[in-house]
Amino acid sequence: MIEFNDVTKIFPNGTVALENVNLKIDDGEFVFIVGESGAGKSTLMHLLLREEKVTSGVLRVGDYDLTNIPNYKIPYYRRQLGMVFQDFRLFDKKTVYENVAFAMRVIGEPTSVIKRRVPTILSIVGLVDKYKSFPTELSGGEQQRVALARALANNPRIIIADEPTANIDPKMKMDIMNLLVKINSKGKTVIVVTHEKNIVDYFQKRVITIRDGHVVDDRVGGMFDETV
């Protein structure tokens, strides 16, 4: 479970990015986080990744209290998260296989486990036949699938996708979203930060709307409501 209790984040220059945010996301939920640029979505993500510390309030993710987590534990906490970025952040000099394998190597998985698990994950995202390709040889949609595969490599409990459909062509957007829904159906919590009204409206999942650092709307089966 992810729990924000009166979370406020104020940056050193005085900018109040989030103020008294209260949120609960249960295990296995699928959540869209929407809002305009500068609303506070990115700050919320950075807090979840523990790139930033909350200024006040309490933020808990599973067994980890991110308010007081010691630095040495942060990498271990992040292994519970699978991150997907709009710019993919793949390793260009590594093949599709190596990109996924690398995520496992980082946490010290033995080669035998890596060899067994990578093809399985690539089959989930439909890229088994492209395992030798380099990211630059793939389309945007395919690159995002690799990023998803990498995010899944260490069997995380939570997938956080930051504008996962922003840099891919319209045909592939639905593929990526369907993959995320499929991953969610396997019991993983999925948080998608997006601007895309069509996608939010199509899937009818829980939608949390942030504006000026406040949660202004939170409803299950919600729509992208620009009037909120």
Partner: protein
Amino acid sequence: MRRYNVMYFISQSLKGLWRNGLMSLAAVTVLLSCLVLMGSFALLVYNVNENIETVAMLNEIVVIVDYEATDEQVQELSSQINRLDNIREVKYVSKEEGLESERSRYEEYSYLFEEIAEENPLPDVFKITYEDNSRVSNLVYQLGQLDHVNKVNNRTDIANDIENIKSGVSFIFIWFLAILFVISIFIIINTIKLGVEARSREISAMRYIGATNFFMMTPFVIEGIIIGLLAAGFGYLLQVFLYNTIYNAASNDYPMIHIAPISDVQMYVWLGFIVVGVVAGVVGSIISLRRYMKV
């Protein structure tokens, strides 16, 4: 606890060195030059100190025995002197030997010595050489306290001058080494930094995946160590070659200068190069990575 594959770290380091080939080569070359400069200076100081010590050994203390002292008393004094600390060699010169020595020194005036032979005015003396130039004042004092010692002659000014030269040389040596060491570290920092900058996106992605600082830093630290070891290895060969060339030339042309053969010092040169090279590699890479290792 999962264990990381050491071969993986080494292969990543070698890839990093290869990717920044030119910069790696420059780093090895400049670090090698620094090591050879350090080594040459250290060897120069070593040999200068050795030669200064030789000069210092020429400076002997002369203990003049009371003229009336009996043979037994002189013998007792001799054994007392030999028991003192910091003594290298004690040479007894009797009045007769002294007179003979002076006679052969001033041969053209030998007739004068004939006249004084009956009543030899020279005293018995002990000529003493010592181990440690820096403790000579203490030795002179102790000799002066012994019975039947009339006078102790010593050029303490020379001893002090030698000590001053030695400490001056050591002072310059230490500063010179420190400066060269800092330069070496800067070179490593710049090389590793280039590698880190080129891979900053990769490093940031590694952080999100859950890589520990250890995992991210190790390949770069190994890169630094490899640069240090390569510089130490090639630097050692160059140093030995240069030293032998100078040794052969100087031994033929300036036989009065004592130069230690390379076999006396090569182990220290090798160890020194390895230690300085590796420490510069490790420290340099850690400093250049600090900024990237925030959580």
